[in-house]
Assembly symmetry: D2
Homo-oligomer: 506 residues x 4
């Protein structure tokens, strides 16, 4: 069956070997610190099983025609890309932020495209291997992590030039039955509670970086994988339960401490054939691209959630109809709309690749993601502005129930009479969670960096955008050229970069 349940997922986690290191101890996946992350992932199973969300949260497997969870699906059409955006947005609404599971989806989609293209070009046999793995993920509705960002050591020099060669994940041994890898992946959110970890390269690799051109998938508790965990949680509520307080995650630094990868789990190996090395960068970009396209869904949702909270707290404060308040909320809404529209327009321009996948337009995807990233702190600033200082000085929850203070704090934190004291309290408790908690701090950082920081999107845009025809418009208008050919920017995808890269190599 291609649609799993939360219960089955939790059962699988419980059976895993403890390999999460925190606070000086080794932890399994059955402890309370997991609660926030599990709450989020739960939505991805529940909604796939809920007829209300079926149209967006499920898909039809191109492998066997079965109904599957869309999180394990390879996009077969523009409609699939649009539905992924919609699913992402809808689920993000339910958790008030990142739905977390898209990274696995994006890794599967990137592998599908790139293993096929690599096989075609080089004659390797990765794609069939990948399809078997994909079927396994679809059948069991597995939650996958994507471990991409290497720790990178000294900036500005290439992997093989590093004083410590392990600063990028690399192959340290090749055996008959597989390879041994060493290195670490950072900012590796949700690794502590996924079934599988998919490791992909983080950048282009040159000929001398062949040992670094490696991609594979392994169970998250595999021998030698050591996960340094960092839970992101809201304080437990005493009485006033609320989704915003249930949500959390466990971030990680995932260390591959000489880990054996069996052959059937290897999807790229630069030591196998030097021609495959350049596919490392192609794969890195392809994952980043799918992931940024996912962000056009989730970041739109993040902005909408912030707008929803800004609207609510402004209403509780009795200032919702003020001109400047409307203007500020409209600013967040406008960003949400533009980011989502960038993703939609990218999807409509998507190109079918040789493996059958649809890949959205890269420049628009990056333009959308960049806008979101450059606005995120500003959106929190607006929320803080409209919420007011009470967000940062709210009496503790217990004070609302302590007989000596309950009546007083209720009296003095009520505002707009249309909201009960409890609803005002709930609203400001949410503001505290949203504006003044480790988890919200991490959300802001993730808003800047997740999927690539704004400067990476500028670089991606400008490395892909062909300035020549654009410059020709200028030359025509200046009278330097006699005419301009009719110009419409062609759809760009990471493949263009691969081609460019090939030319440069020679």
């Amino acid at each position: 069956m291609g649609i799993g349940t939360y219960e089955a997922y939790v059962e699988r986690l419980k059976k895993m070997k403890p390999n999460i290191y925190m606070n000086g101890k080794k932890h399994g996946r059955d402890e309370d610190f997991m609660r926030g992350g599990l709450y989020v992932i739960k939505q991805t199973y529940d909604c796939a099983n809920d007829p209300k969300y079926e149209d967006v949260c499920t898909a039809t497997s191109h492998l066997n025609g079965e109904k599957i969870n869309r999180f394990t699906h390879i996009h077969q059409s523009k409609e699939d890309l649009l539905n992924k955006q919609r699913m992402t947005k809808l689920l993000c609404h339910r958790v008030g932020g990142c739905i977390q599971r898209c990274m696995g989806t994006d890794a599967l989609n990137a592998l599908s495209v790139v293993t096929y293209d690599c096989d075609e070009a080089v004659g390797t046999k990765y794609y069939d291997r990948f399809l078997k793995y994909l079927e396994f993920c679809q059948q069991n509705d597995l939650t996958c992590n994507c471990a991409q960002t290497d720790v990178k050591g000294v900036r500005g020099i290439r992997p093989h030039e590093q004083p410590d060669p392990d600063q990028y994940l690399r192959i340290v041994d090749v055996r008959e039955d597989g390879i041994v890898v060493r290195g670490a992946k950072v900012c590796n959110s949700i690794a502590p509670y996924t079934d599988e970890i998919i490791a992909l390269p983080t950048r282009f690799m040159g000929a001398k970086d062949a040992a670094y051109a490696v991609a594979f998938a392994l169970p998250a508790d595999w021998e030698g994988i050591k996960i340094m965990g960092l839970p992101g949680l809201q304080s437990k509520r005493v009485k006033l339960k609320a989704p915003v307080a249930e949500v959390g995650d466990v971030e990680s630094l995932t260390i591959f401490d000489d880990v054996f990868v069996p052959n059937d789990r290897i999807f790229l190996n630069g030591l196998e054939n030097p021609e495959t090395v350049k596919f490392a960068g192609y794969l890195a970009l392809m994952f980043a691209h799918f992931h940024r396209h996912s962000y056009t869904g989730c970041k739109a949702a993040v902005s909408e959630v912030l707008a929803s909270q800004a609207t609510l707290v402004a209403d509780v404060n009795g200032i919702l109809n003020k001109e400047h308040v409307q203007e500020k909320i409209s600013h967040i809404i406008g960003t949400a709309e533009l980011v989502f529209a960038a993703g939609e327009a990218s999807a409509y321009k998507a190109v079918q690749f040789p493996n059958g996948s649809y890949v959205p337009d890269e420049i628009l995807t990056n333009a959308g993601r960049r806008l979101a990233g450059s606005e995120i702190y500003n959106e929190y600033s607006i929320l803080a502005d409209l919420a007011g200082g009470l967000s940062a000085s709210l009496p503790t929850e217990e004070s609302y129930y302590d007989p000596e203070t309950a009546e007083l704090v209720a009296k003095y934190t009520k505002r707009n009479p249309e909201y009960s004291a409890e609803d005002a309290h709930r609203t400001f408790r949410m503001m505290e969670n949203k504006l003044c908690s480790p988890f919200s701090g991490a959300e802001m950082v993730a808003g800047v960096h997740g999927g690539g920081s704004p400067i990476m999107e500028t670089i991606t845009m400008m490395s892909r955008y062909d300035l020549t025809p654009l410059k020709n418009i200028g030359k025509y208008l200046a009278g330097i050229n006699d005419d301009i050919p009719r110009y419409e920017r062609p759809t760009m995808t990471p493949r263009a970069m691969l081609d460019k890269f090939k030319k440069t190599e020679k």
Copy 2:
């Protein structure tokens, strides 16, 4: 035949009665001050006749299946809306800015939707009348102006409350064979060189404003129409001809000095039936909406043109590859992409109306237009930044040919050796045109206000956006509500405002 020629258009203009007032004289349409505007409109005829642009610049009339100029077409599909955007962008590239003729197209489309709806609701007979007029425009490929913005007098009070009742265009007499109107429309670009002037209301009208609920079309030289003209032109080039220097317009204040409108040219008359009054606002919004959607095409082009010129001048200056230069250009490109994507996504969400027309999504359209408007001066700032001060202190063109100075000025204004002295000169001459001319100043002002200034788009967005389901997301996350219904923002169009307005009235 539904595709006219520039020559036929010019012939029609020449036959018109002089009614353009400038510099203390009355002018006809055969003088040199028209050259800039004619140059622009010429493109709209030439490209419709050019097989290279046929796919976007022509359309199939829904009246008779004939091939027509897309500027006279009523959008029959989402594809039509997308093609209008593409046509607009492509033509704007050719003139380095506004293509000017879309206002007529947008007026025709608004009338098509609203006259039909009005007839349905009230029983009037405007739609058939409109169709006859439309056929006349299509058959002759007429260029139409839209006169919308009233001079408005005292702000903050309604038309009928004005001390001078003529501050909004109004009906001052009703006759058997027509009506007599009085008032003036401002910022009425291109009226001096269009075949027809279509007058539409500028705002919602209340019951007491019935005489102001009026829409009609008349030939531009009709008795009583007095056009106060203001040519926007670049200085004539001595030697270095260039498209950027050919382009211009004639702005106007169009005065209706007790003008008779025959019955077959009236498309809304609030005195005919009090039920029609509310359609004034609906028509005002519908035109603004179509026009803002056109802006998602032209403003994207305006940004691309600025990016093209920034790229060229940065290259001539030898700084194109600097990190900060790339970042600045990418900022303009990103805006162009997002604005155009907003228009595309609006088109994909378009709704078919009872008359058969497709109407794009209003919130997205406004979000896109607002972004463009709020960025325009910043984009010129980037252009000025990359061009440098020479743009504002270039020797006169003659100095490049005066034997005493020619060699010296060529020597001292050459920069990047990849560009000849003449090409550098051409580039900076274009910078002078673009940064330091009355026409470019007007372009900046139009970038802010054309189609509605940013604050109008904020108001439109917020009056249409339903904050309740959004607020419910906040309530759900705070634990105030138990669950949220699945929420996706529905497509919004000006019709929603009409419905809202109807409710308010009661």
Copy 3:
């Protein structure tokens, strides 16, 4: 002696009656949750006793010529105002943010000016009473809180119109020996660990609000004062002690549950004489004004601290010399410089008031404070940008010491070889504290709202700025007026508002 010690301060706190309500219990001032706030206040005593800081941290009392802690000083000159700014900035550097104690200083200065002016105008006797209280504060080097912001209930209506009349602090009983007050003050930082609480009005009061025109000072543990506390603390470090982790505060909602105020502690009482009522607003503004001037010192420091941390983490990341990094850091530095310069220029323009105090220029002070407030989230965004995602996913501190992981995490979180693994760890631990903690979230909120949110500063600026002479420049240039008088903006202080208010009253 006018310069106290931290030890004496702590002794005084220990003797106070428990009246801090948190987590369902009543707490005294001898518990661990106070540690962060005490760490900060400690600097204000230690530096006053440190010869290195003596020049800025001490002053000469105008009451008796004794050397006192500058935090208890009434500014007697422009130099005093400049020194207050410098002291604030220097101490803020030491705690990496708000020095917390300035609110008391600003309250004393506001009372000094306003009680004198009120006595002069109305014949009350507040100033002498105030001087006795001031001497008591100076002699004992007391730390004072200022309780200003009322909870405000329903926005947009005045205090006496509130359905619940206690939403603004008010006099509920007048006795021979004093008054009884009821109400609550919110966002009342540091009240849990100050000697004294000074309560001031939060806004202008009309004639019907006379009972709300009240100001007084009381010991923080006075009968009936109930402090709802909220500690802001960083997680305790296991091994790597660092100032950034020591710093904290305790925020509060301070409830006055029918509190008796003896006559000698009352500094404004609107029920005593109706003429005094208008001094409520004057006092509110005067405190806000002094407080915003303090912000030109502390916010400059906050920006410098963020720039210092951005510089450090960029260096640890090995990217400090990148063009875009330098540009981003320069942006923060530029803001710090401009904010501080606004405060300095305000001080140089300061006006001596009848009581002998110097009051800085209001428009400049607000312009500086506003810039800081509007940039604060952006500055955190830059810090997050340069720090990278590791800030939000750092392994727990214990992982650096757990034998099973210590070597690995050190290896994989080291970067620029010029920094040891421990220093890199220290730097990212600080980033976690600064970007992802409840305390840093509260710092961001305080950056927006402390001393008045940006919109309040805009309102203050515009209510004080006389647009008439400015408009006259426009009229002169347009030829409407024949000439302009020489125009230099006069120094503005809250007094102008008092005068304006008086006129409006009539």
Copy 4:
């Protein structure tokens, strides 16, 4: 006498040899195209002779104690620097923009400091020579231009590396009685109507650039100086005279076509002594620094003028009291205040140099100038926003007097009844001048680039700002360093760069 008259100035100009090349002809200084520039310079003479402005517009010569025009004064105190700022602002108010004459003042001040320091260090005799020249300027109240910006040819390579060695002004011959120079200076505003042209280097020069290390002063019509002129003028008004329409300038590219400079006019000559070469960069920076400090006066005025015009037009439009209008105007005012305050605070921190001059703080000066430059287009955007589209489509002036249209256009361009039709007309005519004219376009470009574009100020700030003590704050807070020394940023001046440069050389 040290205070001249406009009449004497004009007489001097009339006597000059024609050497202004425009439109293919050679022009003298007695033609109408000069009118705008002369109007501006006139204010600098008239106000120095007007008792109302005497305190700021005159100064006491340190050479002989005579009263002189402040534009010829060497700043002898902080008060002088503050007065220069005030003078600049006041005069800019009168012309609605740049007062143009400060460039000469700044050149004289830079020469005063640098020639003295050079003599001290190297043993040259420039300072005495300079003093004689200064006295000549003071006695005759001469208007001086500063020719700094070389045309620069190929970017990114040094002067002596240029394929065409004349792309930076250089010495091509050394004679007994002087030197011969060749090259061209661009963006050389006001050269066509100054008495003298002072040429200074544009950048640091290395040992091989010795021939480029040259500074001198010559009469503007000196043999071999060829001025390529570009007049900036508003259209002549028919009836409605107004200062805004009188103002203008003549920009230029000034070519030195093998020009002989007699010894007594040479202030730096790198061929005379290799040790002097490094003073070229010092002089370049010192002029830029004084000029940017002047900008803290004039750019504050430019913003105030824009705010004054925004206020007026908003009032004419009847929207002045709208919340968003007030917010926008306050934004411009806030910038003006902050920019001016940066200059004031720089002045208060000024350092006395060996020659006796006062030199303001460099980082603050640059922070202030940068803010102004980065806001200028945004301020025009606000003006365009509040003025509305009529600014770009106003009927021609004659239409207001043509009997056939006069009444109609008056009727239809009147708005707020508090303003007569003529005053409304005057206001919008000013808007046309300000938003849509070649001169206003040039003003915007100059707002970005004059005195150095924003990126140059960022580079200057960051090359001067010592990040080490700042980074130490970060290290202390992180626990890397045990303590921080008390840190206050020292005053920085271009001299620091000279010292840095000296170290680098070795």
